[in-house]
Each structure stands twice: as structure tokens, then as C-alpha cells.
């Protein structure tokens, strides 16, 4: 393997980490712009190298496009493992194939754009340098996750992104809401980590190795039941990381973090890690239909659930959070039924338009001085034209209107659902498309139209160029990104083929299914029309409907009270138990135990005081008794009772 291919992956992976370390060491001593420059340059460097690597790989013949690199060649003298606990050997290996490359390109590419955006957005933060260091750590751990060559290093990256998420959500650590949200995200992520660990344990028990090469090559040697279990536990991890039902409650709260964080981590990259996991482990799911169906059902349910909740939210970022959950539901649904190319394609387009939406929302929030409640907005179409046009592009993309990106990817998924004979799931997915159109345009109308500006602050103009440029670039990508898959030119499937050499050719997703696309477009238009009617044309109708369906509205606004349920089932018992332990068991149990030892020791001392009577004759008696005992021992035990006198 040539030197380029065997060293570049490591450079790509470690460049962001190196950047973070440099920021940590040098950053505080230089002007804060230095941290921004180092952060942005390291990610950009990774992106460029990734692009070069991708270009090289996709020139190669299809059956050679997937390969594993272990340790840089310079260390060839070292043994080929990172850990060797007989009989398990784990290497530090990276797997480079088209699947990983797609994710790497998005992570570094969109990541770089968001880094650039943060230069302007975080300008007022006191911890500016720390922010860039944390973002670099996130990019590093995310790359570790997608580039890993065995499940252990995947888990390392998995936990790493959870940590980065925790650090970044709670970035403004003076706000209790942010810190609580960060803790909640971490705890739920850890539940997912446990799922992956259990899957790893089963894998080790059956395959004896955690390396992708070994596990996937011997996949048929395990029973379907085993593979089902592995799939279920991996699904648990995916559910937690991708905020699917039922471990989704951390995602809306995660919006407490700064908007670039929401854009990068909780929209474009980290939350898609669950999707990546399922696609990466596709041999497992291909042979475990029950687990795969579970994945699809979870995805579908999450998509519908989140869409309905999104209809009743008033915080601009929360609407986007639920829409992320819903779109990820689409991706999970797609990979659950085996439409891996469609799911990946939707990931790519979603990264574009969701990051775009968050950036545009960020511009609005930034210019309104921190206002996020859409009831306090309105009429911004004239005051903030840039934000409006970019937000519009993103909305059209997510709703799936031709020719924007979402049209192609969403229709690809829906088409595959029917082609793979899942009509019920297709019906739900199409209904979700209707609801998605409704709530996204509701958001658009309430923010930019519906009469005059209702807010308190005067929006100030003049957004920084570093914020504007990435937004516009993403708007462009959201427009043209879908054109990777056109009738007769399925770039995605062609590109990914190299990662699916075991399955034969992937189904082409480029052909337009007029029925599916027609129905979907109609549904979307219906949703848009509904939002337009209720919000622009007939606000009194909306008010009447609102009061008539008030309980339903409350249910949706509180996200089906899932948070409340979790609070009473999990939080309250755990906290009560913890406080009880601290109040009772700790002082009396543990404290009592240690005090008890002290008491016992002094008690023995007290007891032994009784021996020191002070009477000489008593001491003498004790000595004589001792002498008698020693004599008896000596005669009977040592000499066995025979005489020791003179013979």
C-alpha cells in the first residue's frame, strides 16, 4: 500500500487534536484570534486531506476501495497490536472505505464552515479560545468514530463525542439550564454506551475479535438470534446518540448550547453517529431481520413523534431540534429497511440544510440580542433579508421541494420503502412529510411574516462576514447538493459501492418514481398551504382551533410529557435514594463502621486494663499459671508425654 494511503488517514485524524492541544498551550498567550486561526486551519487542513484521499480512493477499482490501515509505517518495528490480552488482540486500526470517506468529508467540510461561522458568532464570549479547543476535540473524536477499524475504537470515538457534547452544551457554565442540559445529555449518552458495550461483549464471545474485518467476514458463523441481540444492543447505542425514541429528551435541552454547537453537533454530525453505526454494521443487520425491523420501527416512530411535537414549539431552536430528530428518524428508518445508500444520501443533504437552518437562526438570534422565542419575532423579512433568504432555502430543502436537496434524498428514502415492500412505514413517512412541511413553514411565517415585529429589541444590522459567508455557502450546497443523484446518474450509490462489496450492486436510487414523488410533493404542498392559511390568512381560525384543541396542543407543547415521566420514574427515585444514603447510610453505616473499629480497639484496651491490678501476688499467680501451661505444653505436646528426666 503506498505511503500516501497509509499515512494520510492518521494525519487527518490527529490534525484537529493537534490543533486543540496547540490552542490549549499557546492560545492563552496570544491574541484570541490565534485560537480561531489554529482551530479553523486544522479543520480545513483535515478537509483538504480528506478530499485528496477521497479523490484517490474513488479513482481506484471498486473492489480495492476499502482497506484498513494500522499504525503508521514508521512504527513498523512495533508489534501489530495496541492491546493484547490473550486471546484478544486489539489494534489501533483505521478503516478507510467510501462510507467512512462520505462521513469524513461532511464532518470536516461542514465542520470547517461552522468553525468559520463561530469566529463571528462567539466573538463576545469570554472563553473564546476554549470554545475552539472544544470544537477541535469534537471533530477529532467524531473522526475517530467514523474512521475506526474495530468496534473498540468506535466506542472510544463514541464516548469522545459524548464528552465533547457535554463540554460544549454546558459551555456557558454560569447558566444552570445549560449545565443541567449538558449533564442530561451525557447521562443519556452513557446509557447508549452501555448498549454498545454489551454488543461488543457478545461480539467478542462469538467472534473472538472486535475488528470489522474479522467480524464481518465470519458473520454467518453466528446464529440469527445472536446477531439479533447484537443488533438490538447497537440500536440502543444508536437511539441514545441519535436522540431517537425513547432516549430523545436530551436533544431539545441541548439547544442551551451555543448555536454553532447546535449546528455542528446536534444537527449535522454527532447525532448521525447512530445512522453511521447501523450502516457500518450492515452485515449484522442484513442477517438479523428482526433487529433491522426494530431499527426501522424506532426510526419511523421517532420521525412521526418529533414532527407532531414540532408543531407546538415556540423556541426557534427547539423546533429545529425536533425537526432534526424527525429527519434522523427518516435516516434510521431508511437504514433499518436496508436502503443504505438512500439513508446516507439523506444524511449528506440533511447536514447541508440543517446546518444552514441553524446558522440562519443563529444570525437572527445574534442580531436580536439573544431572543429565541418566535412569538417575539415577526415581520423580519424586510429587516433581515439575508437571514430570510437563507432560511427559506433551508426550509424548502427540508420540506423536499424540487429542485432543492431534500427533494431528492427524501424521495429516495420513500421510494425505497415502497420498493422494499414496507407500505405501512411509507404511509407514516409520507404523513410525516406533510407535518414537516407544516411546522417548518409555521416557523418561517411566525419568524419572518405575520405582521409587525413583536419583539422588544431593535435588530441590529451588519452581520460579520465570517458568519455570512459560510451560511451562503451552505445555502448553495443545500440547493445543489441533491443533484448528486439524478435520473441516470446515481453518484451516491456508485460512490458507496466500494463499501458494500459483500452485497452486490446497491439498488440505484436515481430513478424518479413519479407516484412517490408526486404523493410526497402533494403532501408537502398541503402542509405549506395549511401553515399559510392558519398563520397568514386566518389567524382567528387558528385561535379558534387552538382553543378547541387546547389539551392536544398542551400535549404536543410538552412533548407528550415524556420529560415529566422520566423525571418521576428515574430522577426522583435516584435522587431520593442518593440523599437517603447520604443522610443515613453514610454517617451511620460507613461512619459507624469506622467509629466501631475505634470503639472496638479502645474496648479491648479497656478490657485489658483489668489485668493490671497492681498486686504483686496476683502478678505472681499469673506467671505461675503461665509457667504451668508452658510446662504442660512442653511435656505433652513437644515430647508426647514421655518423661524428660534422666534415663
Amino acid at each position: 500500500m503506498d505511503k500516501f494511503l497509509s499515512t494520510v488517514p492518521f494525519t487527518i485524524l490527529f490534525l484537529p487534536l493537534f490543533g486543540a492541544i496547540v490552542i490549549a498551550i499557546v492560545g492563552p498567550r496570544v491574541h484570541r484570534a490565534g485560537a480561531a486561526i489554529i482551530g479553523n486551519l486544522s479543520i480545513f487542513g483535515s478537509f483538504v486531506l480528506t478530499a485528496m484521499l477521497a479523490h484517490t480512493v474513488w479513482q481506484m477499482p471498486v473492489d480495492q476501495q476499502a482497506f484498513t490501515v494500522k499504525y503508521p509505517p514508521a512504527w513498523a518495528a512495533h508489534p501489530a497490536f495496541w492491546a493484547h490480552i490473550p486471546p484478544l488482540t486489539i489494534s489501533f486500526e483505521l478503516r478507510i472505505d467510501p462510507l467512512a470517506l462520505v462521513w469524513m468529508l461532511i464532518v470536516t467540510g461542514v465542520g470547517f464552515l461552522i468553525h468559520l461561522y463561530s469566529v463571528g458568532y462567539m466573538a463576545q464570549s469570554r472563553w473564546y479560545r476554549t470554545f475552539f479547543a472544544y470544537m477541535n476535540i469534537f471533530v477529532f473524536t467524531m473522526l475517530m468514530l467514523v474512521m475506526a477499524g474495530n468496534f473498540l475504537w468506535l466506542l472510544v470515538g463514541w464516548g469522545g463525542v459524548g464528552l465533547a457534547s457535554y463540554l460544549l452544551i454546558g459551555f456557558d457554565s454560569n447558566r444552570i439550564a445549560a449545565v443541567t442540559a449538558a449533564r442530561k445529555a451525557l447521562i443519556m449518552n452513557v446509557i447508549g454506551d452501555v448498549g454498545i458495550m454489551l454488543a461488543i461483549f457478545i461480539m467478542y464471545a462469538h467472534f473472538g475479535s472486535l475488528s470489522y474485518k474479522v467480524v464481518f467476514a465470519n458473520i454467518t458463523s453466528a446464529s440469527t438470534n445472536t446477531l439479533d441481540w447484537i443488533g438490538i444492543w447497537l440500536l440502543l447505542g444508536a437511539v441514545a446518540k441519535s436522540a431517537q425514541l425513547p432516549l430523545h429528551t436530551w436533544l431539545p435541552d441541548a439547544m442551551e448550547g451555543p448555536t454553532p454547537v447546535s449546528a455542528l453537533i446536534h444537527a449535522a454530525t454527532m447525532v448521525t453517529a447512530g445512522v453511521y453505526l447501523v450502516v457500518r454494521a450492515h452485515p449484522i443487520y442484513d442477517h438479523a431481520p428482526a433487529a433491522a425491523m426494530a431499527v426501522a420501527v424506532v426510526g419511523c416512530a421517532s420521525a412521526v413523534f418529533a414532527a407532531t411535537v414540532g408543531m407546538a414549539q415556540y423556541d426557534i431552536k427547539r423546533v429545529l431540534a425536533y425537526s432534526t430528530m424527525s429527519q434522523i428518524g427518516y435516516m434510521v428508518l431508511a437504514v433499518g429497511v436496508g436502503a443504505y445508500a438512500a439513508g446516507t444520501f439523506h444524511f449528506v443533504t440533511h447536514a447541508f440544510f440543517k446546518a444552514l437552518l441553524f446558522m440562519a437562526a443563529g444570525i437572527i438570534i445574534h442580531d436580536l440580542g439573544g431572543e429565541q422565542d418566535i412569538r417575539k419575532m415577526g415581520g423580519l423579512v424586510r429587516r433581515m433579508p439575508l437571514a430570510f433568504w437563507t432560511f427559506l432555502v433551508g426550509t424548502l430543502a427540508i420540506v423536499g421541494i424540487f429542485p432543492f436537496a431534500g427533494f431528492f434524498s427524501k424521495d429516495a428514502i420513500l421510494d425505497q420503502l415502497l420498493a422494499l415492500h414496507h407500505p405501512i412505514l411509507w404511509a407514516f413517512a409520507t404523513a410525516t412529510a406533510l407535518i414537516t412541511a407544516y411546522y417548518m413553514f409555521r416557523l418561517l411565517f411566525m419568524t419572518f411574516f405575520t405582521g409587525e415585529y413583536r419583539g422588544d429589541h431593535e435588530p441590529h444590522t451588519g452581520t460579520a462576514r465570517t458568519m455570512v459567508v459560510p451560511t451562503v455557502i451552505l445555502a448553495g450546497l443545500a440547493t445543489v447538493g441533491g443533484w448528486l443523484v439524478l435520473p441516470g446518474r446515481d453518484e451516491i450509490s456508485r460512490a458507496l459501492q466500494g463499501a458494500f462489496t459483500d452485497r452486490g450492486p446497491l439498488p440505484a436510487i436515481g430513478e424518479i418514481n413519479w407516484f412517490v414523488s408526486g404523493v410526497t410533493t402533494l403532501a408537502a404542498l398541503a402542509g405549506i398551504a395549511g401553515a399559510y392559511w392558519l398563520y397568514q390568512r386566518a389567524p382567528d381560525l387558528r385561535a379558534r382551533l387552538g382553543s378547541a384543541f387546547a389539551p392536544v396542543h398542551r400535549l404536543l407543547a410538552n412533548a407528550y410529557y415524556v420529560d415529566t415521566i422520566y423525571h418521576w420514574i428515574v430522577e426522583v427515585p435516584v435522587l431520593t435514594f442518593a440523599s437517603d444514603v447520604a443522610k443515613y447510610i453514610d454517617p451511620e453505616g460507613v461512619g459507624g463502621f469506622t467509629a466501631g473499629i475505634a470503639h472496638a480497639t479502645s474496648g479491648i484496651g479497656e478490657a485489658m486494663r483489668g489485668w493490671e491490678t497492681g498486686y504483686l501476688r496476683r502478678y505472681g499467680l499469673t506467671m505461675v499459671i503461665g509457667m504451668v501451661l508452658v510446662l504442660a505444653y512442653y511435656i505433652f505436646v513437644v515430647h508426647g508425654g514421655t518423661s524428660i528426666g534422666v534415663r
Binding site: 498486686y615 510446662l631 511435656i635 518423661s643 534415663r647
Partner: protein, 167 residues
């Protein structure tokens, strides 16, 4: 010879009981003197003439005289005899029991064939032999014994020079 041995042994035991049993300390001292005499005869039967003489001279002649002096000095104006019941409970009976147990064990230990001692060279136990052994083979012990006596003298002088101590 055997008769002598047994007579001496009987005297030994009887006077020993007399030592510990007498109420008045002076009676005890007298019994002790007879005890030492019997012991000296026993030494003679063991071919230890020098030891027998030393026993009489030093033990009976010096140490017991010292005892008598102390009894005299101490009991002027005081009750020499123990009055009242003992303050220590569980002292008498356990003592006797322990003593009997010790005796039984020692008896068990020394039982066995009663063979006589082998023949000894004629000058065994003579003063000359003794002195030669003392000053050649066991010279170090002899010198250390001197130190012990020195220390005893020093100790007694220091204690005598001390002012009254109140207990």
C-alpha cells in the same frame, strides 16, 4: 548413703513447709537455716564439697543474717504478722491448685528409670578443681559476677542515701 539422702530430703521438705507456714518471720528464718543445712548435706552426697561449704557460709551465714537484721529493723513498732483477711479474691485456691499442677507436671517430667550416676574422678567437686574451672574455663562469668555484686552494692547505697519516700 541412701538413708542419709532420705533423711535430708524429709528435713528439706518439712523445713520448707515450716518456712512458708510460720506466722512469725523469725520462725521462718530459723526453719530456713535448717533447710540450708539439709541442703548442704545433700550437696555433700553429690560430691560438691566446696558448694556445701559455700552454702553454709554465704547463704546461712550472711544472707539469713541479713534477713534477721531487716526483720529486726522493720518490725520495731509494727505488726510483723499478717492481720485481717487477704484483699485479693481468688488467690489462695488457685495458688494451691497451680502448685499441685506444677508438681504433677514436674513429676510426670522426671519419672523414668532410676539409674545411678556414673563414676566420677576422685577430685570431682574439690576446692582445687572448682577453683581451676572457675578461673579458667568460666573466667568471664566470674568477672561478671563481680560486676553484679558491685551493682548491688551501688544500688543499696543509693537507696539508703535517699530521703524518706512516702507511698
Amino acid at each position: 548413703m541412701i538413708g542419709l539422702f532420705w533423711i535430708c530430703t524429709v528435713v528439706l521438705i518439712v523445713t520448707a513447709i515450716g518456712v512458708i507456714g510460720s506466722k512469725h518471720p523469725v520462725h521462718s528464718v530459723v526453719a530456713l537455716i535448717v533447710n540450708f543445712a539439709a541442703l548442704a548435706v545433700l550437696f555433700l552426697t553429690l560430691n560438691a564439697e566446696f558448694l556445701a561449704m559455700i552454702q553454709i557460709i554465704i547463704y546461712a551465714g550472711a544472707i539469713l543474717v541479713l534477713f534477721l537484721f531487716v526483720i529486726t529493723l522493720l518490725t520495731i513498732g509494727t505488726q510483723p504478722i499478717e492481720v485481717g483477711p487477704s484483699r485479693l479474691s481468688f488467690q489462695a485456691v488457685p495458688s494451691i491448685v497451680a502448685g499441685i499442677a506444677a508438681l504433677a507436671l514436674l513429676a510426670a517430667g522426671v519419672r523414668g528409670a532410676r539409674t545411678a550416676a556414673p563414676a566420677a574422678p576422685p577430685d570431682f567437686g574439690f576446692v582445687g578443681t572448682f577453683g581451676l574451672q572457675l578461673l579458667t574455663t568460666h573466667l568471664f562469668a566470674f568477672e561478671v559476677t563481680g560486676f553484679v555484686l558491685l551493682i548491688a552494692v551501688l544500688g543499696v547505697i543509693l537507696m539508703a542515701a535517699r530521703k524518706e519516700v512516702r507511698f
